[in-house]
């Protein structure tokens, strides 16, 4: 396996009882994450990007389940591959925090208010290493220095409410990276921070990624973050990947009308004053997608075929995939009909 993580045909089901088929919150997701790659996942709230990452961690919350035929293969070490969907809870626990880590959106609530920073860093160490107490202290101290926390010795004894959001996010990064994982999933790591701190945290993550050789999956709905940090991007819409390409292609050779809409909705300081573009309509509810393209109702360039047939994810240029009839010969097909 050449990639670090290979997701094939991933679907995530929400059961609706025995009589009805489950609602597919995520459907047919194929992704490849390479070693040391910075992979961006964009999409609006509820499009399935976060639960996809929960599935990678084996942390789907009840009653969600990974659908039949899904495969998530992860390379722990060269030649040592695991199929995450088939691991037992104990094996998953060994994987989490050691090989795959995660950073959450809200640093203020992601640490337990009952325990000091040191106790919470130690928790990660205790389950994955056999360090002594003194060694753990040393490791925690070094890690805090790596994420550029001043007065590290003192901060270790502090409780989360003593620290600011930016500091806490640094602590979260420290906890996530302390066991040197091969994959780091960052679920909107900067959304809850103010803009100046955002830049600092992103710089820090980039820097640490270089020195730790860690791949990062960056989940966000901020295209600025994507532009700044990622190499490859997947755009999620209504539980599917609608476009996937390198960052340059996404921004300069945008193919899918949805991605185009996202880019046009970005605010900027300069430029002429005009009303901000919005994509009309709302995301359809999961399980209520209809037979055609899921974006058809909101699309400016919707054709007849879009309403009756779902487009497939097709490669329109090397490394650039798009799920849209505009790029899959939809117009010709329609003419033929």
């Amino acid at each position: 396996m050449e990639h670090l993580l290979e997701i094939r045909g991933l679907s995530i089901d929400l059961p609706r009882g025995r009589r009805q088929p489950p609602v597919k919150l995520v459907e047919g997701v194929d992704l490849n994450i390479d070693k040391k790659q910075n992979f961006g996942v964009v999409g609006e709230s509820g499009c399935g990007k976060s639960i996809t990452c929960s599935a990678i961690m084996g942390l789907l919350s009840y009653p969600l389940t990974v659908g039949e035929g899904s495969s998530i293969r992860f390379q722990k070490e060269a030649g040592d591959e695991v199929e995450i969907t088939k691991l037992s809870p104990a094996e998953l626990r060994k994987l989490r925090g050691k090989d795959i880590s995660m950073i959450f959106q809200e640093p203020m609530t992601a640490l337990d208010p009952m325990y000091t920073i040191e106790e919470q860093i130690n928790e990660t160490l205790r389950f994955h290493t056999s360090l002594s107490k003194a060694e753990m202290h040393q490791a925690a101290l070094e890690m805090l220095q790596k994420v550029k926390i001043p007065r590290a010795e003192q901060i270790l004894q502090d409780y989360p409410h003593h620290l600011s959001g930016g500091m806490l996010q640094r602590v979260m990064i420290a906890i996530a990276l302390i066991n040197n994982p091969r994959l780091l999933i960052a679920d909107e790591p900067t959304t809850a921070l103010d803009v100046t701190i955002q830049a600092q945290i992103l710089d820090l993550m980039n820097e640490l990624r270089e020195s730790y050789d860690t791949s990062v999956i960056m989940i966000t709905h901020d295209l600025g973050v994507i532009a700044e940090t990622c190499e490859h991007v997947a755009v999620f819409y209504a539980g599917q990947v609608v476009e996937e390409a390198s960052v340059e292609e996404i921004f300069h050779a945008t193919a899918h009308p949805y991605t185009e809409g996202l880019l046009r909705s970005v605010t900027s300081l300069g430029g002429a004053k005009k009303e901000l573009y919005t994509i009309k309509g709302m995301v359809p509810a999961a399980g209520n997608y209809g037979i055609g393209c899921r974006f058809a109702d909101r699309c400016d360039r919707c054709m007849e075929i879009c309403k009756t047939q779902a487009p497939a994810l097709t490669e329109i240029a090397p490394g650039h995939k798009c799920r849209c009839w505009l790029h899959a010969g939809g117009a010709e097909k329609e003419a033929a009909v």
């Binding site: 626990r93 060994k94 994987l95 925090g97 609530t109 992601a110 208010p113 928790e123 990660t124 389950f127």
Partner: protein
């Protein structure tokens, strides 16, 4: 242990907490040392029946001429013993079941909670009668019966807080770094359960004392001539007009005890809430 010391210090700083702690401690001490504090034996008929309170018989005497003050002190033993142990049984079982049901959800949750619903559907006194029919009468069956009656309330309270705690980011974060389930339950989830659990425990204590009284009244609980506040109260019912003190004093003690537990529980909730400690 450090945290326990801190909690007690926090309790002491709060005037209400101080009243609750001192009051309950006093009650427990009197209950333990009842034989030394009480002026007469609880079952000794030492004076004219239904003597009004006076210097010699502080709370008066009952229809058999027994000293009510002494009986109330001995009754504190029974009430506290039954209350604490019964709530202990119910709370422990309910805690474990609620923790499991809330954290794992799915079929195990459904099975546990349906059994709890069945227990809940029985009127508590009926369930207690059922248990004491099986186990016999007296102190221990009473405790077990009241304990079982209390399980569903605790299981539900704990389950609800576990489910809400499970959604907290730091619990997810602990899961995402591979912390063991037992450790997550004890270290990260349990602190969120403590506050509602404590409040529930104080309510359950007063409830248990009342259930014990009802059971004793029905002749299923504490057997005469052993004194319990509940049975004293029910005996007093027949003499309300002639000797109101027979009812007033046990009732007063029940009220004060319940009040003290509630005050303590309230103050404990504040002391245990990390968000209030800034």
């Amino acid at each position: 242990m450090r945290r326990l010391g801190q909690t007690i210090r926090d309790l002491w700083r709060d005037p209400m907490g101080r009243i609750g702690m001192v009051g309950i401690l006093l009650l427990i001490v009197t209950a333990i040392f009842a034989p030394y504090v009480a002026p007469y034996g609880p079952e000794k008929m030492i004076a004219m029946p239904k003597t009004a309170p006076c210097a010699q018989y502080l709370f008066g005497t009952d229809n058999y001429g027994r000293d009510i003050f002494s009986r109330v002190l001995y009754g504190a033993r029974v009430s506290l013993e039954v209350g604490i142990i019964a709530v202990g049984i119910g709370a422990t079982a309910g805690y474990v079941l609620g923790l499991i049901a809330g954290y794992f959800e799915g079929w195990i949750d459904r099975i546990i909670m349906r059994i709890m619903d069945i227990l809940f559907a029985f009127p508590s006194i009926l369930l207690a009668i059922l248990v004491s029919t099986v186990l016999g009468r007296g102190l221990v069956p009473t405790m077990v019966a009241i304990g079982i009656v209390n399980i569903p309330v605790f299981a539900r309270t704990v389950r609800a807080s576990v489910i809400s705690a499970k959604g907290l980011e730091y619990v997810k974060n602990a899961e995402s770094v591979g912390v063991k389930t037992v450790s997550i339950l004890i270290r990260h989830i349990s602190p969120n359960v403590v506050a509602p659990f404590t409040v529930q425990a104080t309510l359950a204590l007063s409830g248990a004392i009342l259930t014990e009284a009802s059971m004793s009244f029905l002749g299923l609980g504490i057997q005469p001539p052993d004194p319990s506040w509940g049975s004293m109260l029910s005996e007093a019912r027949a003499f309300m007009e002639q000797a109101p003190w027979m009812a007033i004093f046990p009732a007063l003690f029940i009220i004060v005890t319940i009040l003290l537990f509630n005050i303590l529980g309230d103050s404990l909730r504040d002391a245990l809430d990390p968000k209030l400690k800034l």
